[in-house]
């Protein structure tokens, strides 16, 4: 494989894909340089969907800016608003109540579940397996319903606010029961799916040895999240985050770095997320869900990293008169773009989109203009 990937001299033709392509959920240009339908080199370009969120956030009151970050992504909306709030909380020294921390974890892990299920569904679709795709979307509905029940919305839940969570997201006994029942149902369905998935010889034949990213390449290309863990690196920021200290969970890794490993990574992370949610619901502390006793002040640039479904999410900004300054956001897909290009090389052109999709791209998150204004 390594020899194949090094052989980049014989280029017969270029097959450009995108920016609009049915196998790609989001707009990007993928230039594939092929020899007899085998990809010898690849070049990926993003940037056609940038909305300049950081620029829009510049000068906004921090509460408004937090709400805006939720609009960055339709899949990991909670991750963005949580990390944005977390940035301000670190900067201002706001103590978040324990109950709010637990609710935030529940929301984040529910988001991880729906993100992973969406990933698997999209991967199956690109694989050409419509039935798997449809069933996974069906399974995902359980999580979407729970998110809708807690947050009042299926995509933009707006749960995190400065100092805690929104009152709408308070968990009463009825909601706790819904979550517990939902997790039981989800576990049953995903286990059945996983059994079916790993025992399908045609699917396994299609995904084994395709889109390989070696551990060495994954580290060299600065991969993050499940994309990195599927190459055997046990790197999960949740282990470093104090919010996750009360919870027991395993960091899943796979060894091969191919599409099979990437898909299995997400399949095996689902029970871990369910485990965390169950613990959070079981041990949910009593008390308030918001801390309002804090004062706004000017702060220097403050950074916050969290582990979101796709990897490490970075937010940083300074506060000046309660307004956001010099905001920078780096999404995990940004770090994984190099791996996406690399994974295509040496494989058939039909596997190119699959090789990209295996890294769980979210280019709508990634496409943002970074503008530095001299004040």
């Amino acid at each position: 494989m390594d020899d194949k990937k090094e052989n980049r001299t014989v280029i017969e033709a270029e097959v450009p894909m995108g920016t609009v392509h049915p196998a790609a959920l989001e707009p990007y240009r993928l230039r594939l340089f092929v020899e007899d339908e085998i990809v010898r080199d690849a070049e990926m370009t993003v940037g056609v969907n940038h909305r300049g969120v950081e620029r829009i956030m510049e000068g906004l009151p921090v509460e408004k800016a937090n709400s805006l970050t939720e609009k960055i992504c339709g899949i990991c909306s909670n991750s963005h608003i949580w990390n944005s709030c977390r940035t301000a909380e670190i900067a201002l020294g706001i103590e978040v109540p324990e109950r709010a921390k637990y609710i935030r974890i529940i929301m984040e892990e529910l988001e991880r579940l729906h993100s992973h299920l969406l990933y698997l569904a999209h991967g199956s679709e690109v694989l050409g397996h419509e039935t798997f795709s449809m069933r996974l979307f069906y399974i995902r509905e359980t999580v979407m319903d729970l998110l809708g029940t807690i947050g009042g919305n299926r995509v933009q839940y707006g749960s995190a606010v400065l100092g805690g969570v929104r009152p709408r997201c308070e968990l009463d006994d009825n909601r706790i029961k819904q979550i517990t029942d939902g997790m039981d149902l989800l576990e049953e369905k995903t286990t059945a799916f996983a059994d079916r998935f790993v025992s399908d010889p045609m699917v396994i034949s299609r995904i084994t040895g395709v889109g390989v990213i070696s551990q060495k390449d994954a580290i060299r290309l600065a991969c993050t999240g499940p994309t990195l863990r599927a190459t055997g690196v046990a790197q999960d920021l949740r282990r470093e985050m104090p919010e996750y200290d009360p919870f027991e969970f395993d960091v899943i890794t796979q060894d091969d770095g191919d599409v099979k490993s990437q898909l299995l990574m997400r399949v095996l992370e689902i029970p871990e997320a369910i485990k965390i949610i169950r613990q959070a619901v079981r041990d949910l502390p009593d008390g308030p869900i918001t801390n309002r006793s804090w004062e706004m002040q000017d702060t220097p640039i403050t950074k916050s990293y969290i582990e979101v479904p796709r990897g490490t999410l970075y937010h940083s900004y300074a506060l000046e008169d309660g307004r956001v300054r010099n905001c920078v956001i780096r999404t995990p897909s940004m770090a994984n773009i190099g791996a996406m290009q690399h994974a295509c090389i040496g494989h058939h052109i039909t596997d190119a989109q699959l090789s990209v999709v295996q890294c769980d791209p979210c280019f709508t998150c990634t496409d943002r203009a970074i503008e530095i204004i001299k004040l």
């Binding site: 995108g18 340089f33 690109v126 039935t131």
Partner: protein, 329 residues
Amino acid sequence: MDLIYSVIAVIGTLVVAFIVSLFLPGIERKFIHARIQQRVGPPITSPGLMAPIKFFFKQTITPESSMPRLYNALPLISLIIVVILLLFLIPEMYFLGALASVIALVGFLKVEEVMYMFMGSLSRSVMSVRMPFPDKAKGAAHQDTPQTFFEELSSLRAFRLIAFGSFPLYIAMFVAVARTGSIYLQDIIAYQQVHGPILFTVAGVMGAIVFFIGYMILLNEYPFSILKGKPDVIEGPYMEYAAKYRAYVYITRGFLMFTLATLFSTLFLGIAPNILNPAFIINLIVALLFPMLMAVLSAFSPIFTYKQFYPTVAGVSIIGVLAIVAALL
């Protein structure tokens, strides 16, 4: 009187075939795909009947092609070829001799396959090279490399299908020839009327399996959809067809589904399509059964790449050859 009978048989069979073929894609999607995928699915008339009707009333576009008129004419030519195929399967047309033989049918099917090559060669959709994007910007990789359209890629794949992909179907057709010792449909049917259907022999069962895989390959159905697949070439040769030309594409596909199933019942059951023969119901059942089986298989399969496609075709072709040998014994 005989002439009137023959005319009614030919026209009636074609009309019924046309009507049934309009419902086949709907049956495939509504009753099989949708049921397996636990969803409601489209109305039964939607994919095969209502979609072509809708397309006939849409405004057409001038395709980006070196020969747009020829390009637009190709689906109609394909449809005519498929109609001719069915025509020669009807017993009333057997007086044409060599044209109502397995060799002629293979020839017509090959012409139908060549159409995909032409379509692919003549199309230049906006989905790849023509997409407005600064590929050759400063710093871009391999700036001197010629760019290829998806349709060109599809065209090359169509050539590969002609070269080896459709082997299973043609080999299976010759199982009947090997068994009966004649290439003429008339003789093949007469043999089965005396000795019973070829399907109920070992060679027949093997041939039927091979025929079915060939049927799926020729129809470009998942998992054998290398000519038009969502992961890379999208719609492949059909990409630029709009309005009535796309309607022809849909109708041709439905008609080809019916014709190939009828070809199977002629070669393996000894029942030629003739509306005035009560056994025509068997033709209809086979025509319904084939798309349904195909839908089941395609619903549970991912799309194949050459890595899976070559061994499958080779393996199935070997079974086909064994079936011919068994038929000769």
